[in-house]
């Protein structure tokens, strides 16, 4: 029923998260806190495309919909980063460290929505925190556009 394609060995201390690119050609793996390694794999070749040691924790990962290149976002304790492979070298993993509105936030989950209807008319990322709040971020204009404070009966305020 399932045939093993590749056995990918790079993480010496385990894997905490995995995510396929939208075209299934690449796989992103995130190591454990003991070894915060982020690796981008070529699925077909079973080889490492690029890797880097991350500073800080990673609690969740989400692949952004982009037909041209692999871009993914990670969240963790006081951390929200966007990642992509350097288009020039195709070897280095670049990141964008996005300052949080609440610097004490422990972000626990992230989900992406490719296209939101009006009034947003953009793709958004939903960032959940350990306090039950959700922050809405749009990578297109690089700004936080709303916050739902607590999932239950929360209100949404636009900036």
């Amino acid at each position: 029923m399932i045939d093993e394609v590749n056995r990918l060995s790079c993480h010496a201390k385990g894997i905490s998260l995995l995510a396929f690119s939208h075209n299934s050609k690449q796989l992103v793996s995130v190591g454990t806190e003991d070894e915060p390694l982020i690796v981008v794999w070529d699925v077909e070749q079973g080889s490492v495309v690029t890797s880097t040691i991350n500073t800080g924790s990673v609690n969740d990962i989400s692949i952004l919909s982009n037909p041209d290149e692999l871009i993914f976002a990670t969240v963790g304790n006081q951390s929200f980063k966007m990642w992509k492979i350097d288009p020039e070298t195709m070897e280095d993993l670049l990141y964008l460290d996005i300052p949080l509105v609440d610097n004490e936030s422990n972000l626990t989950a992230i989900a992406s929505i490719n296209s939101m209807p009006a009034p947003y008319n953009c793709s958004i990322l939903l960032l959940g925190d350990s306090e039950g709040g959700i922050v809405v971020y749009t990578p297109e204009s690089n700004e936080f556009i709303a916050k739902i404070n607590k999932v239950v009966q929360g209100s949404i305020g636009l900036i």
């Binding site: 394609v5 990918l8 385990g14 894997i15 998260l17 006081q78 966007m82 009966q153």
Partner: protein
């Protein structure tokens, strides 16, 4: 690579000290190289200088941490009546170890895929039958399915490998 990364970090620090952004919108969008971490005793490397400047600015203005999001105090904790909360009807599988993202529900085809210990199990919802589709040598920490559901990647939480099938 390390020198280049550190140089970029230093430039970012200088910029944040001299010209702190007025709002979230003013923050640049240029990706940069992940600097190789040099762990210090304070352990505060996770907080970038840019984030620190924003934090200090809020403190100087005596504003709450949410002040960049909302100028009002609209957001208040609300007690929700018990009958408005969702309750679990079934628990399907239990890992017992640290595992995340270890459940996938295919609502259109009617099956669940979940892990327990070192096994990956598919549950056919119409027949309530379970099939072990993968057994690893150690506990499974997470898995991922490709969008077309033709590829499955399984990760282990202990020293091991990532396997795609």
């Amino acid at each position: 690579m390390e020198e280049e990364g550190n140089q970029v970090e230093e430039e970012a620090v200088e910029q944040s000290e001299s010209d702190a952004p007025e709002s979230i919108k003013d923050i640049g969008t240029e990706f940069r190289l992940q600097a190789t971490p040099t762990f210090d005793t304070e352990g505060d490397l996770q907080i970038s200088q840019l984030s620190r400047s924003l934090m200090e600015k809020r403190a100087s203005l005596n504003r709450s941490v949410l002040s960049y999001m909302s100028e009002t105090e609209e957001f208040e904790d609300v007690d929700v009546p018990h009958n408005q909360c969702l309750e679990a009807e079934h628990i399907i599988g239990y890992n017992g170890e640290e595992a995340v993202k270890n459940l996938f529900w295919n609502e259109t085809e009617g099956w669940n895929l979940f892990t327990t210990k070192n096994k990956l199990i598919i549950e056919h919802l119409s027949t309530k039958t379970h099939t072990i589709v993968y057994t690893g040598k150690s506990n499974i920490s997470t898995f991922a399915l490709s969008e077309d559901k033709k590829l499955l990647a399984v990760g282990h939480g202990s020293p091991n490998t990532c396997e795609s099938a």
